[in-house]
Subunit: 138 residues, 2 copies
DNA sequence: GTGTTTGCAAAGTGTTTGCAATTTA
DNA sequence: TAAATTGCAAACACTTTGCAAACAC
């Protein structure tokens, strides 16, 4: 059902987020949002941009990922204490993390059940419930 | 029941892990293992050591935390992509992460239920199931 | 035109490493 | 005294930032 979004959709989403659709932002948004769910780091996205002949600096990739995260277009996943990973799928779901390869993989929804979510401590509100299942070659 | 472990216990645990009980390792191990469950970063532990007049370099703190982690005396928790956090409680349990203060807090066992743990992908074995509930001041 | 965004290079942060000096067994 | 460990400073990897040039509206 949810096919590749037409170009205008991406442009519209940037506008809605208050982000000027510059050449760099548009190119990165298209790479990320028109190709299904993806897990990636800043370096990975930068490398992919360059090999697709999208000229963009690494600094801009970092800044753009930050802006996209704030805008809710992507989300950050915490699995490594020395590198940021992101996911284009912002809906509630969880991850496998392959320790050997540093790859992320979605856990199918029917494969995990968090039956009870804890009450947030007094004075706080819940932001997210993230489950990471670490695996390695057996 | 589980009172403060006597000095010899810590020494014995280091020996069992194949780690020579040097002054630095012994001091750090005592700070960590004789004071209940603690969440901390390398910098935090280093600062605490210095203020307790335990002379130890930051490099040694890093190296020691790594060795303790491999030995299973402590475990690492992944909540921040720019800093490593550790926990002296190595048994199965989950965490709140206060985004405002960067503090970790245990989730009481009866407050969370992971009813179904996913099958690890083919060719992999499960290492851990970590739940992080992010909260912030409301 | 005016304010925003980019790219570069420099700076910053947390962490690791090489190696001489020290310590442990 | 032989092997392991420490501390320092330098090196590292990843990320952020200052600022002039380029760009969007």
């Amino acid at each position: 059902m949810n096919k590749v979004r037409p170009y205008s959709k991406v442009l519209e989403r940037l506008r809605k987020a208050g982000l000027r659709p510059t050449r760099q932002r548009l190119a990165l948004a298209k790479m990320l949002l028109e190709n299904g769910n993806r897990h990636f780091s800043a370096e990975m996205l930068h490398a992919e941009a360059l090999s697709s002949s999208v000229r963009v600096s690494l600094a801009t990739v970092y800044n753009t990922l930050h802006q996209f995260t704030i805008a809710g277009l992507i989300r950050e996943i915490y699995v490594d204490s020395s590198r940021s990973y992101f996911d284009t799928n912002t809906s509630k779901h969880h991850h496998f993390f392959h320790e050997d390869t540093a790859q992320l993989e979605d856990i199918p929804d029917d494969q995990i059940i968090v039956a009870k979510t804890p009450d947030p401590p007094a004075g706080t509100m819940l932001k997210s419930v993230d489950v990471v299942v670490r695996v390695s070659a057996s």
